[in-house]
């Protein structure tokens, strides 16, 4: 790893950053998808009648049990078998998003169960509907309680976005490979830079979530353990 390799890499950093933007887009997409489905799955697991609960648990079991790369291939190559053309980017958002929802649902389920059932009872005694209770009593507390666990999930899926490389999404790893395929001595510095980018993003993300957690903190409502 020579000084020359580093000086050759320097002008290419913007290309890597371009790739990183794609990772961030993937991240935003899969986290939002995972959040919405994750909350829904958790609510089903806690409140829905037994058959629906079983279905939600099966969903969780599937998306937690199948390797990410396999999911990516399933979502990318699967639809084309049925004549549906799906972009690699969309396939990655779906595969990683569904997978993340299975993990996020566990976080939310734990949070929902940490809220004393007496509060739902009290809200019902006021004449509030079930949906009203979820909206005004359960979710505001469960989402706050979830932030700590969510911070872990963020770090984990941030790194997972690089797996989209496997189905040809032109993200940061793919850009790094393009650079180094033609110029092998660049490999080490390039991947060191990529590694640094993820370290910084992980740090920044967790810092941001921590900030949000402190902003939303309410006395007496803390995640335990």
């Amino acid at each position: 790893m020579t000084l020359e390799a580093w000086s050759q890499l320097w002008p290419k950093v913007p290309v890597l950053l371009q790739g990183l933007v794609v990772n961030l887009e993937l991240l935003a997409g899969l986290l939002s998808l995972g959040l919405v489905i994750g909350v829904a799955v958790a609510l089903v697991e806690v409140y829905a009648p037994r058959p629906f609960r079983a279905l939600a648990l099966a969903y969780e079991w599937f998306f937690r049990g199948v390797p990410e790369l396999v999911l990516l291939f399933l979502f990318y190559f699967g639809p084309s078998q049925f004549g549906v053309d799906i972009s690699a980017f969309l396939a990655a958002v779906l595969a990683l998003g569904f997978r993340s929802s299975a993990y996020q649902s566990q976080i939310f389920r734990g949070a929902i169960q940490a809220i004393s059932p007496g509060q739902s009872l009290a809200a019902r005694s006021l004449g509030m509907s079930r949906l009203g209770v979820i909206r005004h009593v359960i979710l505001p507390q469960a989402l706050r309680l979830s932030l700590a666990g969510w911070s872990n999930e963020f770090s984990s899926v941030l790194k997972d976005t690089t797996l989209a490389y496997g189905i040809g999404v032109v993200e940061v790893m793919r850009q790094a490979r393009y650079l180094t395929a033609r110029n092998f001595p660049l490999a080490l510095p390039a991947f060191i830079v990529v590694a640094l980018m993820f370290l910084i993003l992980t740090y920044a993300g967790n810092w941001g979530i921590g900030l949000l957690e402190r902003r939303l903190r309410v006395p007496g409502l803390e995640a335990r353990g």
């Binding site: 809220i115 004393s116 007496g118 509060q119 009872l121 009290a122 809200a123 019902r124 005694s125 006021l126 004449g127 509030m128 509907s129 009203g132 005004h136 009593v137 505001p140 507390q141 706050r144 309410v218 006395p219 007496g220 409502l221």
Partner: protein, 249 residues
């Protein structure tokens, strides 16, 4: 016409029959105190009245609306029956004001200004106007229970059910909660109160109901129940409970 009519309520959990035919009526402005040993079905009775627990059999009327009727708008009925729980059950993430305001805002559909005014008035009524901005965790047990009473009052209910409202409190905090309840009774609020506070029962109740193993054993004025109960068990229980919890209020 009585405000509340309960007719032959039955409730079973597994093989255990918790309520075995309970009937009672409450007229407007009355304070009815329900007493009885632990596990007798007092909480179950209260919860069956607004169907937080679904009774197996029997009927409940609030005014001329049958609570247990098939097509009844249950949420509407519940909004007219206040419920005060033993362990307060305040909403952890909301301030005292927001706890009291939530029902008027989200159930009664009042505007923010009106809901806030009403909530502040009810907090003042229980002596906690200065704690409007405090979260439940920042309040003593007695204060929390007073907020929960204000929360029930803010719905402008026709009657309030109290399920052992002072049982979770340190002795020195019981007085402030009983004080609020005495005031409500004097103002003509209709209440059913499950309690072991015999001083409160003696001085505030219009009628005392003694329950045991799922049935009402005896009911009558405090005078009659304390002086000359017809059933020996009633006298025994009253003596025991007065010894245990004291008789001052």
């Amino acid at each position: 016409m009585p405000l509340l009519r309960v007719e032959d309520l039955h409730k079973r959990y597994g093989t255990e029959e918790v309520l075995r035919g309970v009937s009672l009526t409450v007229v407007k402005g009355e304070t009815k105190v329900v007493i009885g040993p632990s596990g007798t079905g007092k909480s179950t009775l209260l919860r069956c009245i607004n169907r937080l627990t679904e009774p197996d059999r029997g009927r409940v009327w609030l005014g001329d609306t049958e609570v247990t009727g098939k097509g009844t708008n249950l949420n509407r009925i519940r909004s007219q029956i206040g419920f005060v729980f033993q362990d307060f059950n305040l909403f952890t993430h909301l301030t005292a004001l927001d706890n009291v305001r939530l029902g008027p805002l989200r159930v009664k559909g009042l505007g923010k200004k009106e809901a806030t005014e009403r909530a502040m008035a009810e907090l003042a009524r229980v002596g906690l106007a200065d704690k409007a901005g405090a979260y439940p965790a920042e309040l003593s047990g007695g204060q929390q229970q007073r907020v929960s009473i204000a929360r029930a009052l803010a719905m402008d209910p026709q009657l309030i059910l109290f399920d052992e409202p002072t049982s979770a409190l340190d002795p020195e905090l019981i007085g402030e909660v009983l004080g609020v309840m005495v005031k409500l009774a004097e103002e003509g609020m209709t209440m059913i109160v499950v309690t072991h506070e015999m001083g409160f029962a003696r001085s505030v109740a219009d009628e005392i109901v003694f329950m045991e193993r799922g049935v009402i054993v005896e009911q009558g004025s405090p005078e009659k129940m304390f002086r000359s109960p017809e059933v020996a068990r009633t006298g025994d229980f009253l003596r025991k409970i007065s010894e245990l919890y004291g008789d001052a209020a």
